[in-house]
Symmetry: C2
Subunit: 152 residues, 2 copies
């Protein structure tokens, strides 16, 4: 896997197939598409599912920290959270100690949804069809890439 075959990547090429960035863009959309039917059953979109993952780990989190965890701007999160709220999964409460901040709380049905979501990661992991080693390698490389590219 480490040795480069005859089709070695041309890092300076303008050919679509040579671009790691395109592979990334296509993979991300393909994975999201694979999630879609599973998440439809839960009444969630993929970004909404990511928000719920964070909330299931840590309830009552400020919008700001959600943005840091997911690397999303408030201009993306605000309307998304509004939709989650109108679907009854979360509640928004302005903090008492700092009224600039809004804390996101799970509702009862938001917390209950976690059980129904439990099968999703394994189903997706199965569909990805990577060995545990490939899975770990991919995750590490993507994190390294993200860190490098986000610098400055």
């Amino acid at each position: 896997m480490t040795t480069a075959g005859p089709e070695t990547t041309q890092q300076g090429s303008l050919l679509l197939d040579d671009q790691l960035c395109f592979a990334l863009y296509a993979a991300s959309r393909a994975v999201t598409a694979r999630y879609r039917p599973l998440l439809d059953e839960l009444g969630l979109t993929y970004p909404q599912y990511l928000v719920m993952l964070v909330l299931w780990e840590q309830d009552a989190i400020p919008v700001r920290d959600l943005g840091i965890a997911l690397q999303l701007e408030s201009s993306t999160l605000s309307p998304l959270l509004k939709r989650l709220e109108s679907n009854g999964l979360i509640r928004r409460e302005r903090r008492l100690d700092d009224e600039r901040s809004v804390a996101i709380h799970l509702t009862g049905s938001g917390a209950e949804l976690r059980a129904r979501a439990g099968t999703v990661p394994l189903a997706i992991g199965d569909a990805m069809g990577l060995t545990p080693e490939q899975h770990a390698t991919a995750r590490q490389l993507l994190r390294l890439l993200t860190a490098n590219v986000s610098e400055r």
Copy 2:
């Protein structure tokens, strides 16, 4: 890189950090963000840049084949191509042999833009900061992942 440390991936976990899918989603957006200032100089968005890459390889391509190459629906491409056309980079001509099909042609300025875009891939490759081996591995894993996940 292949051996899993104590922080081995939990494939069935609901923890955000365990999810390869989130690493993918975050990496894709981070890379796009890194492209943005470079592409701003060319007057392109990232998806528009991908379309131009295809056209620089093969001019006079039907919308259908663009969709296949980029894995995008006509409902995404149609308005995007309309913007490229109003920016003077492409031209759309209904084919004579099959009037259902619309062929996309580069204009003069569309073709000229290729020279100015030439520095982009190296700049991005540099920002990614991966070794050639890591780059090749990532590309291969992402393609495998996309192929697996797109099945059925």
